[in-house]
């Protein structure tokens, strides 16, 4: 659907608010409609399109980002709620051209097929490993229970998380 058609013409007069947020370490600032969802702020204002919109109904977790280090669904948060806070998206994972251990895990263990759920799945994994560096399979499955994958059956996603956990603990690849 064309973006201009999707928005009613009077959108320009809707209440606005200034949002200042640190995204992947860089301060960002913009004037947005109060009703702007964080996921649209990231994708349409900052052009960080790695965060996907899946169901748009708080179910699928494709839009998962870290807000002050916690994994949350950016389709169900207003951009104004992130004002003054830290956001991390999938674009903030790799450093100096080197993949994050979680990204490496998804590559090495074939943790994706179509890839649509992958950015959200990885952000949830980053938050999980920050809190629990050595999760059991059960803990991994519970942690990703808000991220839906319709391709893999989760088996390789669990392996990817285990790979990342081991790598992050300094265990090297398997």
């Amino acid at each position: 659907m064309d973006e201009a058609e999707a928005m009613p013409a009077e959108a320009e007069v809707g209440p606005f608010a200034r949002v200042r947020v640190t995204v992947n370490g860089a301060p960002q600032e913009a004037e947005v409609e109060t009703r702007t969802l964080l996921v649209h702020f990231l994708r349409d204002v900052l052009h960080l399109t790695g965060t996907h919109i899946g169901c748009d109904t708080t179910n699928c977790g494709a839009c998962t980002i870290l807000l002050d280090g916690k994994a949350v669904k950016s389709c169900t948060i207003l951009a104004v709620q992130a004002d003054g806070r830290q956001v991390r998206t999938v674009e903030g994972l790799a450093e100096d051209g080197k993949l994050h251990p979680v990204q490496e895990g998804f590559v090495e263990e074939h943790g994706l097929q179509c890839g649509f759920c992958t950015p959200g799945m990885m952000m949830t994994t980053v938050a999980l490993l920050a809190k629990n560096p050595n999760p059991s399979e059960d803990e991994i499955r519970h942690a990703i229970s808000g991220n839906l994958c319709r391709c893999t059956g989760y088996v390789n996603i669990v392996k990817a998380v285990q790979y990342a956990a081991k790598k992050s603990r300094g265990g090297g690849s398997k």
Binding site: P15, A17, H40, T58, T64, V72
Partner: protein, 290 residues
Amino acid sequence: MIPPRFEYFAPSTLDEAVEILGRYGGEAKVLAGGQSLLPVMKLRLAEPKALVDINRIPNLAYIREDGGWLRIGATSRTNDLNDSDIVKRRYPILTDAAAVIADPLVRNMGTVGGNVSHGDPANDLPACMLALGAQFVVRGPKGTRTIPALSFYQDTFVTALEPDEILTEIQIPTHRAGQGTAYEKLEKRAGDFPIVGVAVSLLHSGRKIESAGIGLTAVGPTALHAKAAGDSLVGQTPGDAAFRRAAELAMQIAQPVTDLRGPAEYKRAMIGVFAQRALKTASKRAGGGA
């Protein structure tokens, strides 16, 4: 889906928040975690003229025991219950429930205050509040008042909260020696709304049950207090016979409706099964006499 337009306020004090709510005379909504509010706004089931974001108000997120109560600040996140040692150790009913509310991502945003005050009969915490005999502290234009959970839930999405009042604290009577609590939820798949849920708080005294509270989820216009079921246990020896009788009384007050989650009779039967399970778990946790 983008929500309808609204004025956005992020006050830094409760008084200011109450004043804004009053100014909009019922046309404003409190935004806490937003995990129920934003979805219903996207669907145009709610179109408030203003949102009052209470997340910038300091000292509204805490979990502590103090003065005979477990006190939970309204903007504590649902996952804070899972992370709290005191809750895990002394109020396992709350971690039973918090572990099965939506999914971990939603629990990082959704608040305890929102879950208990939204008024959705499918929310998991209201039944726990009824079983535990909790009360809610609310702030309004005339100051602070306290509402018992037992008189809080009036109808679906209708509570004793006035439009210009804000729930600030949940108070649960401090855990007592011999008390055991549990919440059992039946769901179709991980993260789903409950088909049914049963909350139980038992107090053992010697080899008998001294008092019992039972709350039911998703089988009525509100969470239901199964009073007769709880009363039937007083003075009884904890065990299958007493628990079966209480479960039957709980089934009698359930008002399930047939929907995508199952036929009414199935849900009623499941109230019986899950009441017995919750009673057994609570009794085991209470120790002594079980």
